[in-house]
Symmetry: C3
Subunit: 149 residues, 3 copies
Amino acid sequence: MTAPAGDPVARLLDLEAIKQLKARYFRSVDSKQYADFRAVFTDDATIKGTFASGSDIDRFVADVADRHAGAVTVHRGADPEITFVDGDTATGVWAMFDLLEWQEGGGPAEYPGFRGFRGFGYYHETYRRVDGKWKIAELELTRTRIDPF
Amino acid sequence: MTAPAGDPVARLLDLEAIKQLKARYFRSVDSKQYADFRAVFTDDATIKGTFASGSDIDRFVADVADRHAGAVTVHRGADPEITFVDGDTATGVWAMFDLLEWQEGGGPAEYPGFRGFRGFGYYHETYRRVDGKWKIAELELTRTRIDPF
Amino acid sequence: MTAPAGDPVARLLDLEAIKQLKARYFRSVDSKQYADFRAVFTDDATIKGTFASGSDIDRFVADVADRHAGAVTVHRGADPEITFVDGDTATGVWAMFDLLEWQEGGGPAEYPGFRGFRGFGYYHETYRRVDGKWKIAELELTRTRIDPF
């Protein structure tokens, strides 16, 4: 962590708050708790590198809900690198793993004929403090490996 | 992290202590160091959602040792969400992954005919400080996916 | 974390710096950014338990670059246990996962006839602060499971 000018204890608390924000991102999407999932993002959040890139955030959450309706999903984060830009803004890189499997003859639209996939990659993100709570303001997913099955 | 009233630096040190407690849980069970595994729990710890739920903690540790005797096991944690209830009590949610494979014709009792399984889920836990050391007082495992092989 | 004598806030900042150091280890090796990968190690770093054990650190980095040239690699850390020895030295244990797959008919030299492998294990490491930056001074990898494919 590169701590900017300011109270280092406040930055350490912010750091943990951002890690728990990303934990809620993962847990809410996998448990299909979409109000909680929406709440991890700012109202003007931008999403890149996913099947629904370019949508506004409400549409993105709705698109994720539609896509995952027939699937069991597992998303995991690892090895975060969080850097503070100023007291209310930070950037982060997270390694990620996901495993999605569709039920009942469904499958990922981008891999016709497959039931699901395992993937690896990275999130590059920006976090912003809004009304005292850290939120994801920008998310870009880059993938290094996908194995359909 | 929601820090209760009290010294934030003390809470940050407690937070790291709880993360390392869970790391020892994982490492001791996978290395079959059962004295170390027992030591991560309080004497009155309760376990739910596992093959040996409802046992007292000494019996639970003995049951795990029996079950894993013929297996190579891998357990991993991710994405912890720790919340302090008071200065000596905290709750936590951890995402988990496990991979168990039995050797020499063995297998998991609950999946006859299989050699092992990969699983995903969550631990919901309570931690308590006992004689100055954080311990797991309550553990409940919920699974979202199991793939026998 | 066992904090040695000294400022606990400084130790918490050091702890996060060491976690991010290991995150850069993983990300730089998987993205083949070998100058960044070299920069996570001290000049006198020692490596044990890998295919290139015993090399000096420049040779180790060159050997990793050669080995991974034809492969997609994924390395992930989990469940760190960092302990401070003094203000400029710490030790750590990390659980690890890796997945390596060679392209175009290549494969891991140690598993002839296979395209790659998935592995699990632990890093046992020593960190040292050099010119104000934490570096890996000793790395030993022990594996608990490898599955060639």
